[in-house]
Symmetry: D2
Subunit: 362 residues, 4 copies
């Protein structure tokens, strides 16, 4: 137990920060040692400083950690960032420069040419860009990002299709949960008996992030665009947690329905092979029931770390269509960062945590 890797959480009192704290509670490899919040509340124990809004209360291990101010010097080799995009850009870069392995949820660096944007089952190989990142930026630490909550689950569903049949285009309408907008986030007058058919910036992110994640990486050319057309319409619906997405895809090669189903069912990646602590046994679950997946019933499958697919059937226009669902603040945010960290630790991509690896990551 002494050998767990010390980790910290930036913006630990916010909605995603609380999810980090919750998911790190009792983590077998990582030990939460530092929680950073706003200047104003700094100094108080986390359990008092936070307005905890997840079921179950503040985990015992976090309750007494002092909330650190943003400018405090941190010592944890791994930092999870729930910072808002406005401050994430500069802060995360400074911390990576200072030697920390930073795992970020913010959009700020996602599209940078030397920052990997990773979904570990999908593009683990993009971690190779970290070498170039350290070299060119002169950082002793590193910066890895995970995609937007809607994109992550789409990636988990599209990757098996891309691998098996090639992928030309994906047309998506999302029905997103309110927790994705944080707290206070979406006003209740917008969500009772209502749908808001717009989420600022989300549609663009789904398109650009998808093309980076499903694209390649090599030392010479860096990240290459996947050349997949993505058309997204993003809506907000009266659901607490769990983004639903209605997806139509045009595959590059003809495929039978049962081949498509088989590709989704068989999907697996490095997190499963490595048996990472936060890895879902099955990253993609394909349901047969005609009226599933549903947020209230399916978002917590595999502890919120899976993408649940249903209603797979032909699309008379693009070829195939299906509905997917994924937990937006677990696999879609905090859980995604933690899984990224687990994978990079296991694959020894993080010099910063070097010596501890052999002890903990097994």
């Amino acid at each position: 137990m002494n050998e767990r890797i010390p980790v910290g959480v930036l913006a630990a009192t916010g909605a995603v920060g609380q999810r980090f704290v919750q998911l790190l509670d009792g983590h077998p490899w990582f030990e939460l040692r530092e929680v950073v919040g706003s200047e104003r509340r700094a100094g108080r124990p986390y359990g008092e400083a936070v307005e905890w809004r997840l079921p179950g209360g503040v985990p015992d291990g976090a309750r007494d950690l002092p909330l650190l101010a943003p400018d405090e010097r941190l010592t944890s080799p791994i930092l999870f960032s729930a910072l808002p995009a406005e401050v994430a850009g500069e802060t995360e870069a400074a911390l990576a420069a200072a030697g920390h392995a930073v795992f970020s949820n913010a959009r700020s660096h996602r599209m940078a040419p030397d920052v990997p944007l990773i979904v570990p089952e999908v593009n683990a190989g993009h971690a190779a860009a970290l070498e170039r990142q350290r070299r060119e930026r002169g950082w002793s630490g590193s910066l890895v990002t995970n995609p937007n909550c809607s994109t992550i689950h789409l990636m988990l569903a599209l990757k098996p299709l891309q691998d098996a049949f090639g992928l030309d285009a994906a047309l998506v309408t999302t029905l997103q949960a309110v927790s994705g907008a944080g707290y206070p986030g979406v006003p209740s007058l917008d969500m009772l008996d209502n749908v808001v058919p717009y989420i600022g910036g989300e549609e663009e992110k789904m398109a650009t992030e998808t093309r980076k994640i499903l694209g390649g990486y090599d030392e010479a050319r860096g990240f290459t665009d996947a050349g997949i057309a993505v058309s997204a319409t993003c809506t907000r619906v009266p659901v607490r947690d769990g983004h639903t997405e209605s997806v139509s895809v045009r595959l590059a090669r003809p495929a039978e329905l049962d081949e498509v189903a088989a590709a989704l069912r068989a999907f697996s990646g490095p997190p499963q092979e490595l048996g990472l602590p936060s890895a879902p046994r099955r990253p993609v679950i394909l349901l047969d029931a005609p009226d599933r997946p549903q947020p209230a019933l399916d978002r917590d499958r595999e502890r919120g770390m899976a993408t649940v697919v249903g209603r797979l059937r032909p699309c008379p226009i693009l070829g195939y269509k299906f509905v997917l669902l994924g937990h937006n603040t677990i696999r879609g945010a905090a859980g995604a960062s933690i899984l990224n960290a687990e994978m990079l630790v296991a694959q020894r991509h993080l010099p910063a945590v070097g010596g501890r690896l052999s002890a903990s990551a097994r």
Copy 2:
């Protein structure tokens, strides 16, 4: 006032039946004289027999009408049917045979080769099929249907595009309100903090009805298929009234964004030209605000008789995309039938109400 045309409502105590009764209250051309309900409640005054579930209470004019049993002989020349599909088929045909002009919401006869499926701004010309209907079936009355609630609003948005640019394909994801399923309808456990990504039969109806409505009719060949590919995914969301639809379209000819907007804005049809009592001034309203239309704010525009479109923008896969919203039990059901009746009265398609026309329809 004496000269208003007597009308009746079948299944008048159900959800759509109540909407008929509400919309017919104070109607300038039609006078509600007969309300038909279940055997069990027949004989009681409508105001007592109905469990009224619309805001505002039972209209005074309907309160004291005796609820008639299903087998009672009716005298109103026009009958509006809110019958469920299981019984609508036979009952509506019998009433048309008996001389009534029947306007039906049920799916039973919609696809029949001699039954017009009408959205008056879109395919008023299909009413010509009534002649053949009377001749071939030997009916003295007639039967006209209106489409499913999701299809109607899609038609109002697609027709101007078909007219201006030709239309190849429409890919739609709906976010439908619960009132579309009647009462008791959808259980609250399915709708609190949840989305149900499936509505039985709805996706097929959107495809087949669209092709009939946007197709042609001529005496020789009857109804001809519009040859438009429609791919629908229908979901139920926690909204009382107002279906939202996320739509991508492939046009037959190239078009600029402002041409598409202009086509939607300029759209109008016979109900507007004839100044029908229930006609919206503008059947399609195009909004510029980035986050509209929204059910809670926009479903009642034009007294629930318009289709409200927003977020018109290019779709990188199919060409253009937008979001539409329409009231599902007004323009999507009872109001649609009433507007059909108004148009057929004004166009003198209904011998059954013959002599009264000149007096009332002005």
Copy 3:
């Protein structure tokens, strides 16, 4: 039409301000001439400056009014204030001093010893305090307040009981709608699949305001406390509009259930006698159906100006109990102020609007 009294609305772009603008549209006595908003948006036409959030869009008559900055000099004799309490205190007093008849929704002056807190069916006589107000404050205008949204509807239900049987105590649990908190107001994460059992300051207001409103006023002693014990628990529930209240009362004298029902049913006051434009025909509607009133079905009765009571029955502890419902932003806020203004105009309590009275108020 020229003879309508010019009126203005303070904080006209907020939630309650919009309701004022909506209710004043087409008002027979009052003509909306001035809309005041934040410095930042001032100068733009109201229709552009406002983010309108009520069904139906900005009324035509208000669309082109220029939004005035808070420090602009106003000319309307009557001003309706939707100002937040933080600024209402000073601003409203200054405007009353400057000669305007101010009708305020804010809590700032409600409990002041020379400011009437009026529900016109309940304590119209309190308007007599205006004389003293003008004299002591040296104001040429006046300031009249209406109670908190939860209190108003409670007053309409309690007053007939107080009149008929005397009233010792009222124990209330409210289930309040989110529109009462304005926009953005209550976060959706607090309201989806949830109840918040606390509304800051609300419970105290219900107690103190009730005792002032149901108390007396005379020249010598000013307002006298009604001496009624009020115990309130205020909760927020996932409802857009319409506060529900579960009420138990201890009457001063014994009463039969049908006497209590009769007292509620017979209730009426000066607004009904004077036929004020915004007055409900029946200020209290008593329903017999066992499961009513319900917000979705009953909040709009009498155009949102009535209090709807149901479930009247004995309470084994306090004597009688019932459930009431009222629209919180119409009769509970903007409509209440407007009705107050109508009554004071009709009763000639407002010298500021003097000469115009004979012309308009008939």
Copy 4:
């Protein structure tokens, strides 16, 4: 493992039945061996026969159990009944006569003079009535009931007050979740943007059950009424799980606020002393935060087995008031029955499971 006591669930495919199956999964003392459902689905494996509607899917241990028809002969010594009241009366009695220890959620036998209505922390002593029950009815088995979901949580909050100060009266308004009505249960049109201020029979049950549970039992006189006045108003709100109750109490003896708080905090009973597997560590949790408890945040405390109290403060009419929250299908239904069974096993009240006790209940 072999030594666990075989148990069965009646009406195992319904809402409460599913909760039983879920809570019994991996139970240390009980092993689910028999699941009984409707004639129509009998014979199929439970995993196929059930339309599972709880998060997480059908537990592995239940998936392959054959669904038994209602008339099948059962062998499990303990049976948990989720039968609806219409059939529970006769069926449960027959099974108790046949030697089973039946634990019932139905209201049918709750008020019978020889049937204990037990909340184990509150009135464990009522189990003594089983001897008389067996003797007078000639049963070899037994029948124990648990109260209605709203009553159970009220009991857990009132018992410490009764013990410490005596209790004269409790006035309650409930805000109940929809899962209490089963599936399909409450229509979504009743619960979106709405409150239903009525739940048939619930208010009476809260009064009569409270008086039995908080009353005494002795061999000579049987159950004696607690003589406490209970006045309940029961409403349904748009919440999936978790009943909220606003409670005012009149104590028999004067008490300081901190004494009342201390009594609630110190409360404990036989389940805690015996360390029963389903017992909450703390049956009553008193929160200090002004805006708690909230269903979405607090219903799952102590795995849904606790009553969470907040907002404890003086009531100017009755003395003290507070808000409580409890999970209605866990501690309020299935979990309550299981805890009852655990206690009776541990206290050796069940001859039917006699010999196995020593092995399992430790």
